[in-house]
């Protein structure tokens, strides 16, 4: 009975309500959504909004529909959009944030003012940011009129309405591309294991890589997800949205980096100088390695924001603009305009899995770190 001291009882009593609430409002709702995504709720309009709808279990049919169904090309384009958006959004925020932090770290005049100026966009909601940037990116206004200030003709770039895309690939090649990417990663792991002299790990990784690559060479090209080729790529219409998102969030990464830079002890810099490091090599070998944990946490936070983004896209591109749409928007339209609750739940579940890919490794490393300290 040592475990049930008064302190412990108190702690459990205080924690119980929040554990209970989280169990109901987070985890049971997640479970419910996953369950709904495996049913046919809403596929029959007459049952969708009835008071006692008849709902049948259909297994993974909704997921199959999303990835291979003829009508769901929009969802596949959105997945590709999300991929590119996440990539460029994180790169943009990290790059710009680090740049600004490095400048501010040199103690320019009016530093406090600059800090506020750069951090300010974060206090706006994405809807406000989206509305402002939609005005500025109008085909005949704002940014496109900027060249006229220096006498040049106005630009005609369709920031949000362009249908052009680069880096296009056929959706049918998706299994092939995935196999190749995973294969290459496994080869890298194998090489690394070989260098560290871990034989078993090397053999397993190399064998898996060989299997995947063999599959990719001999069977992969013949796999057809869709009847006809379907091209998806990075749409230029996403550029405007990426700019707005970077504008909003780069101040936040700046603040993170600035805190990190200020946390580096002056002695380390001095030691580096004494060892004959110039500015460039001091940043490269001393400061940037010390900032890498900050980069990781910034990537995690930006990553889950970008996967779940909805309001910014809704405000800037509108709900029906496929070239600049994201899965969250589709989930809203599918569930609440077309009343296809099961299909919407399936999109929601896919989003949850994507976010989990980002969050779970982070949480795991956090827990491991904490245990290490205690």
């Amino acid at each position: 009975m040592k475990g049930l001291s008064k302190d412990r009882l108190w702690a459990m009593a205080v924690l119980a309500p929040s554990i209970l609430l989280i169990a109901i409002f987070v985890y049971s709702f997640i479970a419910r959504t996953v369950y709904v995504s495996l049913t046919d709720w809403g596929n029959d309009p007459a049952q969708a909004l009835a008071i006692d709808p008849i709902i049948r279990w259909v297994g993974f049919q909704n997921y199959q529909e999303l990835f291979t169904g003829f009508l769901q090309g929009r969802f596949r384009q959105e997945l590709v959009n999300t991929l590119f958006f996440t990539l460029f959004f994180i790169l943009g925020c990290l790059g710009l944030g680090l740049g600004l932090a490095l400048i501010l770290d040199r103690n320019p005049r009016g530093e406090g003012l600059w800090r506020t100026v750069f951090l300010f966009p974060m206090s706006l909601s994405f809807i406000v940011t989206g509305t402002i940037w939609r005005w500025m990116l109008q085909p005949q206004g704002g940014v496109n009129q900027a060249p006229t200030l220096v006498g040049a003709p106005p630009s005609t770039f369709g920031w949000l309405s362009s249908n052009d895309a680069v880096l296009k690939f056929d959706w049918n090649a998706l299994p092939l591309i995935t196999a190749l990417v995973v294969g290459v990663v496994l080869i890298v792991l194998a090489v690394r294991a070989a260098r560290e002299g871990q034989r078993t790990r090397m053999v397993v990784a190399a064998a898996c890589a060989a299997l995947l690559l063999l599959w990719a060479v001999f069977i992969g090209p013949r796999v057809k997800l869709l009847a006809a080729p379907e091209l998806h790529g990075f749409n230029f219409a996403m550029i405007g949205i990426i700019i707005a998102a970077v504008w909003q969030m780069s101040g936040y990464t700046m603040a993170l980096y600035l805190a990190g830079l200020r946390g580096i002890p002056e002695e380390l810099r001095e030691a580096a100088r004494v060892d004959g490091a110039n500015d460039a090599s001091m940043y490269r070998h001393v400061i940037f390695p010390l900032l890498s944990p900050i980069t990781l946490s910034a990537m995690i936070i930006l990553g889950h924001i970008s996967l779940k983004i909805f309001d910014l896209v809704y405000a800037m591109a509108g709900p029906d603009n496929i070239s600049a749409s994201v899965p969250a928007l589709n989930m809203y339209l599918t569930s609440f305009r077309q009343n296809q609750f099961a299909l919407g739940a399936a999109i929601g579940t896919i989003l949850l899995i994507l976010v989990a890919f980002v969050i779970v490794p982070y949480l795991a490393s956090q827990f491991r770190g904490e245990e290490g300290h205690s």
Binding site: P45, R74, A228, D320, I322, R337
Partner: protein, 411 residues
Amino acid sequence: MKKALLIVAALATTSSALAAGKLEIFSWWSGDEGPALEALIKLYKQKYPSVTVDNATVSGGAGTNAKAVLKTRMLGGTPPDSFQAHAGQELIGTWVVANRMEDLSSLFQSEGWNKVFPADVVKLISTDKGIWSVPVNVHRSNVLWYNPAKLKEWGVSVPKTWPEFLSTCATLKSKGVAAPLVVGENWTQQHLWENVMVGTLGAQNWENLWNGKLKFTDPKVVAAFTTFNKVMDCANKDASGLSWQQASDRVVSGQSAFNVMGDWAAGYFTTTKKLEPGKGFGWATAPGTAKTFVMLADSFGLPKGAKDRAEAIAWLKVLGSKQGQDTFNPLKGSIAARTDSDLSKYNTYSRSAATDWKNSKIVGSMAHGAVAPESFTSAFGAVIDQLVATKNSAGAAAAAQQLATRAGIGK
């Protein structure tokens, strides 16, 4: 403590006194359409002065935002007392099939509405189980708007068919008009699409599309999709960012020559922009639809479980009355659904529409929920967007056919 209780009691009595005569009206009539609704509410208040009217308007073209809010409230068990819905399949395919609406047959009987509303309209709002809504107005979807002064300046006349439209478009482009046709956000493109379809296929084939006799994948229909692509080549490239009002503004300013929009544009031109019909703006039936009236109607229904049912029924009675319709429609730019309306109250445009209403073939609009259920119309937005991006007529037609099958059209 006693004091607090007293205050609570006092508050409770006042709020219940207010609740005694309350009516919540849920619609998407805001902005330019707001004054027409206000006039109607004023009329209601004259008749029922003790009732507090709560005007719960959710703005957004064609009700896209309002419908989402409505769904939340209906599913949450707090339906508004009476809500706006496009007459026809939009209400029937969403809420009537789900058994959420009250049958209004007895109200139609007692008010004698079966005689004053055209049989076509009553058919549109009924199923074999009852009559589901009270139509307030009739709108025409197939209208081509233009700027008479600018057309004269450019030396072109109003095209009568879609091929003629395309050649007019080429002429205008050669005269330096970058976008002879102006379109706006997605639903206005769907609106244009249905006009091209009716104008190319004819009214009978259009009806057959929705009763399942004609497939979207039929070569005729695919060819009409191709015509739509060519028409879109005449249009502005920044469409997705424009509301229908902003698109109409470009016709007024002379930046574009034509705009295909429903006749609520007449209300916008005359009431908001203070333009004179025939001078500041001109109109014709959309190309190829001369003897056809593509209609849609706004209507109000009575959801099951409405809190203030008696007040809501009184509201429906005002809506269906001659006085109510003649108060509302001249301001809204639509015509009365009743056949006995007082045409002297209407402007030049509406009088011409009312004449056509009597001697044209009447078909329903897809973009505005008359012939297709919401599950089709909403998903069709993505098909149009894909079509505009890729110009792939056959693909879009095949997708439309799959949507139609899924939505149970032609069953």
